[in-house]
């Protein structure tokens, strides 16, 4: 069917996909299958590592190398892999529970170390695989199997946490927004350093409609602002609203009256500090439109850059090991 079928590598594995029919994970998988072949990285040089959760079944469905790890630890597994195999492109797929509950520490440290792995957090604001308990991103009030009276706590906000961890690439997209998601995945792949992508993902079994505001074509344009480097933050069905920056933070303004495009915040994903990125990450439904796109994309030496590992050839290594063995005070008995 596809004229380039012989040259474009196929990333689809032959494994049975075991998600509930209708799960948002399918849409993300579909995008990955589209994006991966365009990156110039061969399937055998691609590794997908995951934790545990519905989302973490992801590696099975791609014909790459992959590891379905243990709950929350994928960033740590990926760090060891990338450190010793800088030639591989390493992706991490994780869920909101996997990444922000049990695995929170590893996420933060992988980001601060800038390990050059691509972390995709499928945020469905629920524990899917264990049948619907609230997660750290569940919104207050959500009734779940473990919170019959409604979830109580303030959630964690993935983007804010990632930025506070000094991540060099931070982005957000939506499972079914195919074009946008594809572009964000491509950008993440292109980034040199740890890339963090939050993907709003609908779990229609246990938390259906959690992202209706961002997915429903009838309303989403009023609740989502797609940001782009160098562009003002304009949104709305009629592109008649924008985000202006006041010293106290971002505010929504209507265009055409007091304010116009030149008054709006112009997005700068390369900003030195993450001050404004934090503000954008702080824009939250329903008080504010939520941003999708790349919030931050800056250069910093990667973990491997910093470690400056050496790979001596066998002969010089033999000499070096021999020197080590003879370290300190030695004596010889004839």
């Amino acid at each position: 069917m596809n004229a380039t079928a012989n040259t474009v590598p196929n990333f689809a594995s032959d494994q049975e996909v075991r998600w509930c029919p209708g799960c948002g994970d399918f849409a993300i998988l579909a995008q990955m299958k589209k994006v991966l072949p365009t990156l110039g990285v061969k399937p055998e040089n691609t590794v997908v590592v995951s934790g545990i959760g519905c989302s973490s079944r992801f590696p099975y469905y791609l014909e790459t190398y992959g590891m379905h790890g243990i709950h929350g630890r994928a960033p740590a597994i990926a760090t060891g892999l990338k450190r010793t195999r800088p030639d591989l492109q390493v992706w991490v797929v994780t869920g909101d529970g996997d990444a922000l509950s049990i695995g929170c520490t590893h996420l933060l440290h992988a980001l601060r170390r800038n390990v050059d792995i691509k972390i995709l957090l499928f945020n469905n604001r629920i524990y899917g695989l264990t049948k619907g308990q609230f997660s750290p991103t569940s919104l207050p009030g959500l009734v779940t199997s473990s919170t019959p009276m409604g979830t109580a706590h303030e959630p964690l906000h993935p983007l804010s946490i990632a930025l506070a961890s000094n991540a060099t690439f931070v982005a957000r997209s939506v499972d079914t927004n195919a074009k946008h998601l594809g572009e964000v995945l491509r950008r993440a792949a292109a980034h040199r350093g740890s890339a963090f992508v939050e993907i709003y993902q609908n779990c229609h079994i246990f938390n259906d409609g959690a992202f209706d505001f961002a997915k429903n074509p009838a309303i989403r344009d009023d609740h989502i602002v797609a940001i782009a480097h160098g562009e003002p933050l304009v949104f709305g069905k009629n592109r008649d609203k924008g985000i202006r920056l006041d010293v106290a933070g971002p505010e929504v303004v209507t265009l055409g009256g007091e304010y116009n495009e030149p008054d709006l915040l112009v997005h700068d994903e390369k900003a030195d500090t993450n001050t404004i990125a934090q503000m954008i990450a702080g824009m939250r439904h329903p008080l504010m439109p939520e941003a999708i796109g790349v919030l931050r994309d800056v250069d910093r030496p990667t973990h491997n850059d910093l470690m400056r590992d050496k790979t001596p050839d066998p002969k010089s290594r033999e000499t070096a090991v021999n020197r080590l063995l003879h370290g300190g005070e030695t004596w010889t008995v004839a």
Binding site: S13, Q15, K42, P43, E44, N45, V47, V49, I52, P59, Y60, E63, T64, Y65, G66, M67, H68, G69, I70, R73, A76, I77, A78, T79, G80, L81, K82, R83, T84, R85, D87, L88, T105, H106, L108, H109, M307, D309, K310, T311, P312, P314, R317, E318, A320, V321, N322, R323, L324, L325, H326, G327, G328, E329, T330, W331, T332, V333, A334
Partner: protein, 622 residues
């Protein structure tokens, strides 16, 4: 070097030959006792003595000054014969303050020598040590030879000429104390002088050297000592030697195993006493290509090592007590993934935080069976500091041959203790052959859980075209590695994994019996208690007792032939630094009524502990 001539000269007068000497330096954490002991050990080794050391320090960085709880000790034995332990009791105790005296008096030999810094025996010092009376004055030390050396004041005087501050001057006290010992036992000052010059500069180096010599002169000129001694060289096999501690040998072993197998070494750890030292050492091996990773916790440490193993590196991690506990879940993953991995447990006193700087062998059952599900792995234990080198290479050979994580059980005593070690020739050590499957030529799909004659699956590396595959912690179908919930497949896989680990026995050397092939008593030991058991048994054999010794370096699976050996003795004794963990494994497997000799005091076995028990069991109370 004028002093070294004097050494020879003064010693030439009337040095008495002795076979073995045990010295214990004891003082505050800041008094440099570890350095003092280490230097005596190095100097003695360089003079051809066999040596063994036992650092014994509190958990605090600078534990409360002047109090018994804060005392840091270092024991060293040097000898003209082969020795296996740092000695049960001490010939010379160097006590830098009253607390050090109090904490260590119990280890002193009858009629032993005590060198005290009499300057430190003031009212404050005695109060901190909770002495009601000055022990030096109340006759309580009469059975010992007490040398009241004014170490603090003499040190200060010795370095006066440098015009340095009181504080730096006082810090050299340990060198003065060492000087005394060097004179007393005719130790050569060269190595320590070299050490000082390599570690310190300027007036600090000068002060240290001055203090060292002053101590030496003090020994020579005062009449405190009736005589001096010398310990002739021990006979050693030809070769080049150095001292190594267990942790040092582990680090060197890791690097060597990587080299012998043509692998990149990845050592990942989260700091914890007494394992941190391995991380510190390997992090200095960058020229050899070592990659170290100080992870955010022990879970990340093992997980990153698993990631590295998946990529084809030599993934290794090490920890102790609580840190090993945290690795439990990931160990299960490694079992399921069937990737080679080394996990080093430098055992310390438990449970929980326990006695973090002290020795114990209480993690054996955890290593063998402490995981959810049937998750077997080989468990090896080094028998001495130097053996740590061999065990790592052996473990990596097993791990790669069988595609399995391997646990290595060292302990705080082995890790921190030192002994002379004949440096192996890296070019002649047997290579560790590892085969990675190549890209397939046909269209057959790759089967990541096919097995070879060792029941090992292929170690296919990312980057190899045609071998893309996914592994994970869910049970896999035999052969294909696909997720499988099939009941019979699961049972098959559980058994395959178990059978594979049993094959470890074919990869480890046959057991050696030291002593009669059958008889009254067999002592079965494992790990770092080897030396004490060995010496006790040799003694008992000399005493004419029918005792034999087998030492296990592999704890899971238990070695081939053990069952048959056990049955040839009337009594079997397993001395352990726990409540009887090996005993439990051996009893369960062979239904032999193994007796236990169990010591759980955060201390190693003394030879006498074992000797006494041997005599008791053989009805020959000693």
């Amino acid at each position: 070097m004028e002093i070294d001539e004097k050494v020879r000269e003064s010693q030439a007068k009337s040095p008495v030959d002795v076979e073995a000497v045990v010295i214990r330096f004891a003082g505050d954490s800041g008094d440099g006792m570890q350095l003092a002991g280490t230097q005596v050990a190095v100097s003695s080794a360089l003079m051809g003595n066999d040596i063994a050391t036992f650092p014994d320090f509190p958990a605090e960085i600078r534990a409360p000054r002047g109090t018994p709880a804060g005392v840091s000790g270092f024991q060293v034995q040097f000898a003209s014969r082969q020795i296996m332990t740092p000695g049960d009791t001490v010939d010379v105790l160097v006590a830098m303050n009253p607390a050090a005296l109090k904490a260590n008096l119990g280890n002193l030999k009858a009629q032993g020598t005590i060198v005290i810094d009499i300057d430190a025996f003031d009212a404050k010092g005695l109060r901190l040590a909770k002495y009601d009376e000055n022990p030096v004055e109340n006759g309580s030390l009469d059975e010992f030879q007490v040398i009241e050396a004014p170490i603090t004041s003499q040190t200060r005087k010795a370095v006066e000429q440098l015009g340095i501050g009181h504080k730096i001057a006082t810090r050299c006290r340990n060198f003065f104390a060492m000087g005394i010992i060097y004179w007393l036992y005719g130790r050569d000052l060269t190595a320590t002088t070299r050490y000082i010059d390599s570690k310190f500069t300027g007036e600090v180096a000068e002060a240290d050297k001055l203090a060292l010599r002053a101590g030496w002169h003090y020994g020579e000129t005062t009449e405190a000592f009736e005589r001096s001694y010398q310990v002739p060289a021990a006979s050693q096999a030809p070769g080049t030697y150095r001292n190594v501690t267990g942790n040092e040998a582990l680090a060197l072993g890791l690097m060597s195993a990587a080299h012998l197998s043509g692998k990149d070494l990845f050592y990942s750890a989260y700091p914890i006493t007494p394992a941190s030292d391995i991380l510190h050492r390997v992090s200095r091996f960058t020229e050899c290509g070592a990659r170290t990773f100080q992870a955010e916790d022990e879970i990340a440490a093992i997980c990153s090592a698993i990631g590295a193993a998946f990529g084809g590196a030599m993934g290794t991690t090490g920890s102790s007590g609580p840190g090993i506990a945290l690795k439990t879940e990931a160990l299960g993953l490694a079992v399921m993934l069937e990737l080679p991995l080394l996990v080093i447990n430098v055992q310390r006193g438990g449970p929980s935080t326990g006695l973090p700087t002290k020795v114990e062998q209480t993690d054996l059952l955890q290593a063998v069976t402490g995981r959810n599900g049937e998750a077997p792995m080989p468990v090896l234990a080094p028998s001495s500091p130097g053996d740590c080198f061999n065990i790592v290479i052996e473990a990596w050979r097993i791990a790669t041959k069988l595609m399995t994580p391997v646990m290595i059980l060292s302990d705080a005593f082995t890790a921190n203790g030192a002994e002379p070690w004949r440096i192996p020739d890296i070019t002649t050590l047997e290579a560790i052959e590892i085969e990675h499957p190549k890209s397939p030529t046909g269209m057959e799909p790759f089967r990541p859980y096919d097995r070879n004659e060792w029941l090992a699956r292929p170690w296919a590396l990312p980057g190899t075209p045609g071998l893309t595959h996914r592994i994970g912690g869910i049970e896999k179908a035999d052969g294909t590695g696909a997720i499988s919930y099939d009941p019979l497949n699961h049972e098959k896989m559980v058994k395959l994994r178990a059978d594979k680990i049993e094959k470890t026995a074919l990869l480890t050397p046959d057991l050696e019996i030291a002593g009669p092939e059958s008889g009254e008593l067999l002592v079965v030991s494992w790990g770092g208690t080897f030396g004490a058991c060995q010496e006790a048994i040799v003694q008992a054999q000399r005493d004419g007792l029918s005792v034999a010794h087998v030492h296990l370096r592999c704890l899971n699976p238990l070695p081939r032939g053990l069952g048959a050996i056990l049955k040839r003795y009337k009594t079997v004794l397993a001395p352990e630094l726990n409540l009887g963990q090996l005993r439990q494994l051996v009893r369960a497997k062979y239904l032999v009524d193994v007796r236990g000799l169990n010591k759980v005091r955060g201390q190693p076995f003394w030879i006498g502990d074992i000797t006494t028990e041997i005599h008791r069991l053989l009805g020959q109370e000693k």
